[in-house]
């Protein structure tokens, strides 16, 4: 009879929900945690009886050391990256007026199919907004056209839909710099009597709130009379920056949002 009752108890335990029986095990571990922990600790410090298992702690130690070394290497890479970013920002903010602007550094994730847009790994969470100017190698390469939470699209100055106010050389005459396919752009409606030479710098004109100081954007590569309107010049420009090889850009944001 006793055997039957005890067997029944065993079967009840067997078919009881694991959550319930698990609590019993937890209770056992909790009640006897002190001797279990101390004896386990003593066991771990005791020498093992056989040589094969002696290698196991060494292997674990080696693996642990490797993990630490990898961690250190990763941290060193992060430090190098941070140094690069600081140096980049220091170069950007060397001019006093630029203090009013903030810069958000972003990595180029990939270039667009048409090569006239870039995808970057910063978005609205980093205060990126549509219309903000983007710098690459200290020159304006385009503006933000689309923004997601963690991603944004840069419309390059060479994109057909890009229209950026620009000045040429030391002139204050502002005209629209329009993109054309093939890594070039055009500046139209410049009077023919205006002195423009090949190699002149083209500056993105300052736009209060977005670009507080002029930044170089391109250089003149061709200059001639416009065949449709001979009183005007037909100016072809090319970005100052080698956009195809860009890996990092800086988005200009208001300094308060940086």
């Amino acid at each position: 009879m006793l055997f039957t009752w005890l067997l029944l108890g065993g079967l009840i335990c067997l078919f009881a929900p694991a959550s319930l029986t698990g609590k019993l095990k937890l209770a056992y571990n909790y009640v006897f945690s002190w001797p279990l922990d101390n004896l386990s600790l003593a066991t771990s410090t005791m020498p093992s009886l056989n040589a094969v298992e002696d290698d196991a702690p060494k292997r674990e130690t080696a693996a642990e050391q490797q993990r630490f070394e990898n961690d250190i290497a990763n941290l060193q890479a992060e430090v190098r990256d941070a140094h690069d970013q600081i140096a980049y920002l220091q170069r950007l903010q060397v001019v006093a007026q630029r203090d009013r602007m903030g810069f958000v550094l972003a990595d180029v994730v990939r270039t667009g199919r048409t090569q006239d847009v870039l995808f970057i790994n910063r978005g609205s969470r980093d205060h990126i907004a549509v219309g903000q100017y983007v710098l690459g190698d200290m020159s304006v390469i385009g503006t933000i056209s689309d923004v997601w939470a963690q991603r944004a699209v840069v419309r390059l100055v060479t994109d057909r839909n890009s229209k950026i106010q620009a000045t040429i050389g030391e002139s204050n005459l502002a005209r629209v710099m329009e993109g054309r396919s093939g890594n070039i752009g055009k500046i139209r409606l410049v009077p023919a009597d205006h002195a423009v030479r090949v190699g002149d710098k083209v500056y993105a004109r300052k736009v209060p709130g977005l670009l507080d100081v002029s930044f170089v954007a391109a250089k003149v590569t061709q200059c001639g009379l416009d065949p449709e309107n001979p009183s005007m010049l037909d100016i072809t420009i090319q970005p100052e920056c080698d956009i195809a090889n860009l890996t990092r850009v800086a988005v200009i944001v208001p300094a308060t949002q940086q």
Binding site: L7, G9, G10, C13, Y28, S48, L49
Partner: protein, 173 residues
Amino acid sequence: MRWFRFAALVLAATILQTSLVGVIHIWQPDIRPNLLLILLVFFAIYSGPQDAVIASFSIGLAADLSSPVRELMGPQIISFGVLGTLLSDVHGIISIRRMPHQAIAIFVMGVLTALLSYLLTFFRAESVSTRLSAELLWQPLYSAVIGPFLFLPIAWWMRINRKGRRHGVKRRR
């Protein structure tokens, strides 16, 4: 049966099984003696039938509680309880007093309890142990080697002489 001593012994064995016994493993961490199995055989041999039943199920409960692998309880309660009771009954027919016989008994009980526990665990469709060879063969073998030598201190602690009588109890004429 001195149940307080029994409880202390089983508790100590359970704690040692999950902690200190790991030090004397050989070849693999799983190949180590099973103290609760040795206790099971000891009490099945040296206790009366009624005490053996209670002791077997109690040791099974301790084995289930201390099992680090299985999530569920019950397989070892049942396997230890049933097989311990069976061994106690068998001992009524065949005397298991000599050390080689005790070693064989420990080995056979180890294999059978491991097999029954495995089947019951499998029946509940829980994750099944992957260290089956260690549980079915090596642990019982290791326990069988050292078990008979542990019977002497266990008998001393339980105040049971090796002839199966408790100390201080006079034989009735």
